[in-house]
């Protein structure tokens, strides 16, 4: 547009009317608190909306950047981890296998891996990757994160043989903590993860789902470790005791890591 056209446009009454209206409204907004505040709030909400939109649009790229940072962090941690010895690695505590925490006051837990195990024998056992060099010796108890699983029968310098609860010669002193009575669990049935608790007197009213723990008179385990849960109760009036089927918490078919209980003293 040439200057004359611009001038005609600028002096047009409609344009001047709009300028006058704009100026008047500007003064109104500037000198009156309510519209001033409202317009500021509106401007802030618009600004917030723009920021949120920008954040939403850029979120995939930011997420990718974070993934990259995390990958670098993981790589760094893995590099540091690989330089540490096994004994300094933090070990999960088998809280699920403990009924009474005071039971472990005089024991330390040595984590071990199962390198071999039998499944279909009457004398089931497992081979653990810890031996006498690690302070393991025959007669120690072994638990998983869920509950009691067996005891150490033999050791070499670097390996141990653990007899499972599902071994026909393993008999363990157990108690029903609700009643305080003591019995013996053994694997008399051929079913894995299922034991029989015997020598519980008939006068004890045992119900299903009751806890079964290791007994205080056990020479292998401290008292208060969880063995399993009562499944069915069969009263043997000829012998005067209950014969109780116990479902073990530890699952022999899903065994991987275990903890060997070593007395501290």
């Amino acid at each position: 547009m040439n200057p004359a056209t611009w001038l005609r446009f600028l002096v047009h009454p409609a344009f001047l009317w709009m300028v006058g209206q704009g100026a008047a409204f500007y003064f109104f907004v500037s000198f009156t608190p309510a519209p001033k505040n409202a317009i500021e709030r509106f401007a802030l909400s618009v600004q917030k909306g723009i920021h949120e939109l920008a954040a939403w649009v850029s979120s995939p790229w930011r997420a990718l950047g974070q993934v990259e940072e995390l990958e670098q962090l993981v790589a760094q941690l893995q590099a540091r981890l690989s330089s540490l010895s096994d004994t300094s690695i933090a070990v999960p505590f088998p809280t699920g296998g403990i009924g009474d925490f005071s039971a472990l006051a005089k024991y330390k837990l040595l984590p071990a891996k199962v390198v071999y195990q039998t499944l279909l024998l009457r004398e089931n056992y497992a081979i653990l990757n810890k031996g006498s060099r690690d302070g393991v010796y025959p007669g120690l108890g072994v638990i998983t994160t869920e509950g009691v699983i067996g005891l150490i029968a033999e050791t070499t310098a670097t390996y141990s043989i653990m007899y499972a609860l599902f071994h026909k010669d393993v008999h363990l002193s157990a108690t029903l903590p609700r009643h305080g009575v003591i019995g013996v669990v053994s694997w008399s049935s051929p079913t894995l993860n299922s034991l029989t608790l015997e020598y519980i007197p008939l006068y004890v009213r045992v119900g299903p789902n009751e806890e079964v723990w290791t007994a205080p008179n056990s020479l292998i385990f401290p008292a208060g470790l969880r063995i399993g849960q009562v499944r069915t109760v069969r009263s043997d009036f000829t012998r005067g005791f209950h014969s109780i089927e116990v479902r073990t918490y530890a699952d022999w078919s899903k065994l991987s890591g275990v903890f060997i209980l070593i007395p501290s003293s």
Binding site: G20, F27, F28
Partner: protein, 169 residues
Amino acid sequence: MDIVKVILTGIGLLVFQLILAPSLSVENIAYPAPYVLFWLLLPFSWSPWTVGALAISYGALMDILFPPHGLQTFCGLWIMALRKLIFRISHPNLPPEWELNTSLYHLTLGEFFLYAFPLTLLHHMWYFPLAAWEVSWVVFFRAGLSTTYTLLWEWIIFVIALQQRHVRS
């Protein structure tokens, strides 16, 4: 002479608004604002520049005297912009060059009502919600009542002081 009459009308309306209007207002219901009459009675025959300058000057003067500042000019300029349109709607058979031959001081009362009411209503519908910064039925109801009340006073002022009956046959 027209310019003298317009200026005197403006001064008279200003004085009325300053002195009498506060006493005539009905609290929270209706507020008279007959100063709107100034914008209504600016002659059509004058150039847009003259009318615009006068309208803005009068609005600015009202803004200085009455808060909220800027709102009087804002609402008054709407009247200035739309008054010809409203007049033509209320007078559909206007001849060519009607602007030069029309004197607003010669309107009959009916014509005055048809011309002044929509513009006063427009002014108040802008003014009251903006001044209160609220959009509600109460505000619009108050604006409607104030329009009626303002129109009454415009009518009285127009008839007593401004209307020139003897010229019109």
